[in-house]
């Protein structure tokens, strides 16, 4: 290894191509790590069974030939499911001391954060795709509104991305996976329940002058934005909401990594 001239040690500028390459390297390792763990398969199976059971109930008992029951229950299922995916992402890096390895590789911290986020999103998308046989069944049995199904899936993907972003942020704040899980679950409860009709009424009743429930529903809650996709509406404002909220937590995740340096 004395021939140091083999490898060019001049510092490359972080071009878009190099940024994507570094992100892809982290993404590949992270995605492989998901499938290395038997827990991931258990989570995926449990999630699919729970979500599809909801659909099957309404399909067979109520005779509803669309996927709306599946998408209506999804936000509530994601409250514990997504933190279960994300809790290990950074907490395990700290526990195994690989955080130091990752942070001393010539990668920008944003590449590490994005790589992890995209790997988690891909895993979630694969789990979500596990419900596609329902779509095939509906097409075979009747004439479902495929546009509505597409927008609902898009909403579900964006909802998952949002949940994953704050789940990863929570994981970056602690070395303890359980703490990361609890933090992200509480966060999920807040964003979902603040859009629930009865919660809004209760909060408004507690502070009639402030209309706290209505304010939370209109400005912060994820439910109204997600539900629009379930009605077949792909509105620019809803896309912006998900992009901003997810981007904010990804950015916060990156900032939280910097604190270990000080």
């Amino acid at each position: 290894m004395s021939d140091t001239e083999i490898i060019d040690h001049t510092v490359p500028r972080l071009s878009a191509g190099k940024f994507i390459r570094g992100t892809r390297i982290v993404f590949g390792r992270e995605l492989e790590a998901y499938f290395d763990s038997p827990i991931a398969y258990i989570y995926a199976a449990v999630f699919l069974v729970l979500s599809c059971t909801t659909f099957m109930n309404s399909f067979f008992l109520d005779g509803i030939v669309d996927m709306s029951p599946y998408f209506e229950i999804l936000p509530f299922l994601l409250i514990p499911f997504v933190p279960a995916i994300t809790m290990r992402a950074w907490a395990e890096e700290h526990a195994q001391h690989t955080f130091e390895l990752l942070m001393t590789l010539p990668l920008h911290s944003s590449q590490a954060v994005l790589g992890k986020f995209l790997a988690a999103l891909s895993f979630y998308a694969l789990v979500l795709a596990g419900s596609l046989p329902i779509v095939l069944m509906l097409v075979f049995l009747g004439d479902p509104d495929l546009g509505l199904i597409f927008s609902s899936y898009l909403g579900a993907l964006l909802l998952g991305a949002f949940f994953l972003s704050f789940g990863l942020f929570a994981s970056g704040l602690t070395r303890d996976q359980i703490v990361a899980f609890v933090l992200a679950t509480l966060c999920g409860f807040f964003f979902v329940l603040s859009g629930h009709e009865q919660v809004v009424e209760v909060l408004d009743g507690l502070s009639p002058a402030w209309q706290l429930g209505t304010w939370l529903y209109e400005s912060i809650s994820v439910l109204p934005h997600y539900q629009a996709f379930g009605r077949g509406v792909i509105a620019f404002s809803d896309l912006v909401y998900f992009a901003l909220m997810s981007g904010f937590f990804v950015w916060m995740n990156q900032l939280s990594l910097q604190r270990s340096k000080y």
Partner: protein
């Protein structure tokens, strides 16, 4: 290649490294010696850009560790004291991940991997998961991650931890063979390692640098000419009054 000027690192009220200055040049192997908790690992973490100095400056290969961390990381091979490895990964995949993350591609990637595997004698465990390897092998995998991109600066924190005596001897030979065109700084509390392979010694205690030089020179300065590193080390540590906790 390495220049540290008045580097200080505080953790709240604790000063882990206090006004430390030294340099390490090309073709030089420098041993960083001190008791547990002396500040060796903290100093190496600053050099690796993992943490910032609270005061002072740390420069590696002409790049400031705080303002140009990516440039520093391109030029270093760093083995942390915890030997951090992804336990679930297969050894060959893990090394490839590190090599790719270090920016190697094509022939340089394959050559870097082949040389690191050969130098660290990892052929027999390549298809095993990291967690299935012995402590000695894990340490060698860690060393391979530091060498895979053939860096001009090597920072090794307790590199012989977990090695058996034969592996220690082999490691010393390996390190000697890596000296050319390289600056190597390794921390240890094993005096034998330092005496066997270091050109120069840095002695640190309670965050302060007590000595910087060849063992003979340090012995003379300490007033015990002809003494070995062990005596010099013990003398310097004992005669230094604790200045802070």
């Amino acid at each position: 290649m390495i220049k540290v000027e008045s580097a200080t690192r505080r953790y709240g009220a604790l000063t882990a490294v206090d006004q430390v200055s030294f340099e390490v040049g090309k073709n030089e192997i420098v041993g960083f010696v001190g008791p547990n908790g002396a500040g060796k690992s903290t100093m190496l973490k600053m050099l690796s850009t993992f943490i910032h100095p609270s005061e002072g400056s740390v420069t590696v290969a002409g790049h400031d560790a705080v303002t140009e961390p990516l440039a520093v990381r391109h030029n270093i091979g760093y083995l942390s004291g915890d030997t951090p490895l992804y336990q679930e990964m297969r050894v060959d995949k893990f090394l490839r991940f590190i090599a790719e993350a270090r920016g190697l591609t094509g022939d340089a990637l394959e050559q870097g991997l082949a040389k690191a595997i050969d130098l660290c004698s990892l052929d027999t465990v390549l298809k095993q998961r990291v967690k299935e390897c012995s402590t000695g092998f894990r340490q060698r995998i860690g060393l391979a991650t530091a060498l895979v991109h053939n860096p001009p600066v090597l920072l090794l924190d307790e590199p012989t931890h977990g090695f058996d005596p034969m592996q220690v001897l082999a490691f010393r030979d390996t390190l000697r063979s890596l000296r050319e065109n390289r600056a190597i700084l390794f921390s240890t509390h094993i005096i034998g390692d330092v005496e066997a392979i270091s050109d120069r010694v840095l002695i640190i205690h309670q965050g302060r640098l007590l000595g910087d030089g060849r063992v003979q020179d340090l012995a003379e300065r300490a007033g015990i000419p002809g003494a070995g590193l062990e005596e010099v080390f013990a003398h310097l540590v004992r005669t230094t009054a604790p200045t802070h906790v």
